[in-house]
């Protein structure tokens, strides 16, 4: 997380070199803040910084201009050292209008810098933002540094040559702001210029105007009269292992992981989806990748999405379906069918705030119960959780491996934060991944064909319809051992229930032991997490260790089955806390399985944990 700028600048060098800075761009939904943030992120990447971002946009598509609920924000934490969170509190806040200032300024650290477009602080916008008086003029912002000037006017001025209408012209405001921030952080403009020219290749005027605005903002930094408290900073490149890097969001990374997994398994992908925030992005990504043997199907609802994927899996494809909480709830019955018919299927849950429709654009981890326990009957399936955008890639591959090697549906958990956040990603070398080709039975084996026969993993054979001589029938009624016929017998039901249970538990034989992400295996306190809480937990634990505290960070990828050493590992710690963005769900699993006194630390606000919150919880647990 960012250390305050001041601290970073005790004496010269002319340009101070803080080891991390947090900047938040906030404006109207129409102001293009996500774009601005995206380009600033890219520039940070090219500058070799490590970083993490947090886009936070409104539920409304395009809320009326100037309203408080219409504010869209993008936060980036970039540094010359490892960055795992988007930062607790911004050092710099760019506020494009009063509503953006009102909704974001309290997050700004004391002494932080506000850059505001005074041109937008007219009476109308002020009242929309519920300001009695103009905060740029009364001294309500005293505890922060304030830089206010008429960015709107300056932009109009800059783009005049292109003779655009006012509305059009003002669209370049965000580029002006970006130009200024690029200057502030001593960044190269060229990549953005190139990006603008390709993006607006068909509209040279728009391209020109945006470039002009970008340059004007940059020039403004250069030439701004010295009286203004505007300073420059240079954040050095972060140490990173050599290689080619790109930025990746969780949604991209999961999509790419599925493609990679399918290639390692040698299978085509059938993706059955139905749009829902924040899961839709995966459907969108995969829809563009047809040349990778991917068929995407936008079904009439989530039930058709999963059942079509089950049909495709039956016919020999890797079945994938994806949704968020409410949609996953609708898929529950069909998951049971996939469990009973033992077909390879991946169910991706991009979690959002619940219950019910809840908070579609906010992040949460409250679907773990649903993932592990949320079906009728004894219906076990493996559950995997990604901890970050980059981690989602390997998690997706792992999900494909388990689904195909064990003939089972697998639940892959991510969340709204991971889905939208971006990280730098060292592009992996696929040859480093061991292939796990899926096998189809092509003819009856020794001793005859048994649709529900078993291999060492208790896996049943996968037979494609179209295979000569292996015709058979499957379905959702209890199956008979080996034959797969309908069977209501007591012994058979017990035996099949045991097989379904043991098969899933057996997956634990193929996964690595649970390690400790930071700290000692037998530390005084373990902070156990899963999913997107990785960043804040990791940073908080690192700081405590640095401060000499005996704390460890355990982060679980395999939620079910749990790694075999998990019980032993947990019993080694004196105390355990489990921070979750829910009311305490993983905690239930751990207490049930291992009878360890895992104490919940819960936050259910639709916002990620801050490092400070985890630090506080650690402190309390240690006292």
């Amino acid at each position: 997380m960012a250390t305050a700028l001041k601290e970073e600048t005790p004496e010269p060098p002319k340009i101070p070199h803080p080891d991390a800075v947090v900047v938040r761009f906030a404006g109207d939904s129409g102001d293009g803040m996500q774009l601005t943030g995206g380009q600033f992120t890219l520039s940070s990447a090219l500058a070799g910084n490590d970083f993490a971002t947090f886009p936070d946009f409104p539920a409304e598509i395009r809320a009326p201009i100037g309203t408080l609920f219409g504010v869209s924000a993008f936060q980036i934490n970039f540094g010359s050292r490892a960055i795992e969170t988007a930062g607790d509190r911004p050092d710099v806040l760019v506020a494009m209008n009063p509503a953006a200032l009102k909704t974001n300024v309290d997050a700004l650290r004391e002494g932080g810098l506000i850059i505001a477009d005074s041109g937008e602080f007219g009476a109308r916008n002020l009242s929309k933002a519920k300001y009695e008086s103009n905060p740029l003029e009364d001294d309500s912002l005293a505890k922060w540094q304030l830089l206010a000037f008429d960015i709107s006017a300056l932009t109009l001025e800059a783009v005049k040559p292109f003779g655009l209408g006012k509305k059009e012209a003002l669209r370049s405001k965000n580029m002006w702001t970006l130009g200024l921030t690029l200057w502030m952080f001593d960044r190269d403009r060229q990549p953005v210029v190139d990006w603008l020219n390709t993006k607006f290749a068909k509209m040279p005027d728009i391209a020109g105007a945006n470039v002009a605005a970008l340059n004007a903002g940059h020039a403004y930094g250069e030439t701004a009269e010295l009286s203004a408290p505007i300073k420059r900073f240079h954040v050095d490149a972060a140490p990173a292992s050599p290689g080619v890097y790109r930025t990746v969001t969780g949604a991209e990374s999961i999509s790419l992981g599925l493609v990679a997994g399918a290639q390692l398994a040698g299978l085509p992908i059938f993706f059955g989806g139905y749009p829902i925030t924040p899961a839709s992005a995966i459907l969108h990504h995969l829809s563009r990748l047809k040349e990778y043997g991917i068929t995407t199907f936008q079904a009439e609802d989530e039930i058709a999405a999963i059942t079509s994927a089950i049909g495709a899996a039956y016919a020999g494809s890797l079945g994938v379906t994806s949704s968020s909480g409410p949609g996953i709830a609708l898929k529950g019955e069909a998951m049971g069918l996939a469990i009973m018919t033992e077909l390879p299927l991946i169910i991706i849950n991009s979690q959002r705030g619940g219950p019910s429709t809840g908070l579609p654009t906010k992040t949460e981890q409250s679907d773990l119960y649903q993932a592990v326990y949320g079906r009728n009957g004894d219906a076990p399936l493996p559950v995997i959780a990604a901890r970050s955008p980059v981690d989602a890639f390997d998690c997706a591959i792992e999900a494909v491996r388990i689904a195909t090697q064990y003939m089972t549906p697998v639940m892959l958990m991510t969340d709204g934060y991971i889905a939208n956040a971006a990280e730098p990603w060292k592009i992996p070398d696929l040859t480093a991944y061991k292939p796990f080709p899926a096998e189809f039975m092509a003819e009856a084996p020794e001793g005859g064909f048994k649709p529900y026969g078993r291999d060492a993993n208790l896996k049943r054979p996968w037979v494609k319809p179209g295979t000569l001589g292996l015709m058979h029938r499957i379905g959702g009624i209890e199956k008979e051992l080996d034959t797969g016929h309908i069977n209501y017998g007591p012994e058979n039901h017990q035996a099949m229930t045991d097989i379904r249970t043991d098969k899933v538990l057996g997956v634990a034989d193929s996964i690595p032991d649970q390690g400790v992400a930071l700290g000692k295996p037998r530390a005084k306190l373990a902070v156990v997490g899963w999913g997107s809480t990785y960043g804040p937990i990791h940073q908080a634990v690192r700081r405590n260790i640095a401060a000499g505290k005996d704390v460890a960070h355990v982060h679980i990828r395999h939620i079910w089955p749990l790694p075999k050493n998990m019980g032993e590992l947990l019993k080694g710690f004196d105390r355990i806390i489990v921070p979750e963005m829910n009311t305490g769900q993983l905690k239930t699993l751990l207490r049930d399985q291992f009878l360890v006194d895992a104490k919940p630390v819960n936050k259910v606000s639709g916002q990620p944990f801050t490092i400070a919150e985890i630090e506080a919880a650690i402190q309390e647990a240690l006292s």
Partner: protein, 347 residues
Amino acid sequence: MNEMTPVKTTLKDWETDQEVRWCPGCGDYAILKAVQRTMPEIGGTPENTVFISGIGCSSRFPYYMETYGFHTIHGRAPAVATGVKLANPDLDVWIITGDGDGLSIGGNHTMHLLRRNLNCQVMLFNNEIYGLTKGQYSPTSREGTNTPSTPYGSVDHPARPCAFALGSGARFVARGFDVSKKLTDVLKAAHVHRGTAFIEIFQNCIVYNKDVFEDFASPKGAEDRQLWLENGEPMLFGSEKTGGVKGISLNHETLMLKVVDVADGDHEAAGVIVHDVTNRSVAHMLVEMPFGEFPMALGVLYDDPRPTFEDAVVAQNKAASKGKSADLAKLLGKGQTWTVEEGGPEL
């Protein structure tokens, strides 16, 4: 329909070793036999044929066909079939459903299947009752039907499966009934049609809704109560010995259908409509033609193919992939990248 090199099979080749578990006297037996009789005639191959059903007595069907089969969950067979067909368009897919499975819980999937026009056959066993759950009324039960869940008689207006199918965009709509000799012909026509072929089959649930179709399905008086439609043929029914030959004609004032007498075989004089399976307006009238006042319209009511869903999907997948390779490294390296040189300290 599905191209395959005709191979010789016999009815026996399509029977499984499973004991058939319908009630003695159930209409499902006759339909099963009709299908098993049809498969050899259409040159089907068991390994390329898939029967997909939901849940219900009728949905037990796949267990009795020596083909690939999937007895899925209640109402979802059309969606499962869509996945099967998109994953392997060469398979000959038959959906077996009931009036509850396909029109109550599964109505929406039936609608979207028809709208998209997946190339498959849908056999909807309409017994106007929920058989498997022991006889509650269904969306096709007639008003006033007494069942355990409607002890005072059902009050809702019944759905008309064929009207629903047309409204959903169906391009093939046919009707038959369990013990009808002509059922195999209807099945063959359905199989020839490229796209979703919707077939409503009246089926006698002898236990919970006995003989509700007797009024038109019983052999006696059949020619007066059954209008078997033949493309290009006039819509005639009845016979000289049974009160005269009659025909279906259009009242050009009201644009409604009417029954006319046909004197000494001159149907033109009587203005009897000549059945054109591609005429959608007439199809709408036929599916809503009230029985009693009119005979029951049977056979192929409407048949006018249009492009199928899986053809379009496959074509687009092909076109989009044209000249592109599935180079994963290229995909991963997409977009703006940067390189960290050797020497920088490891993280």
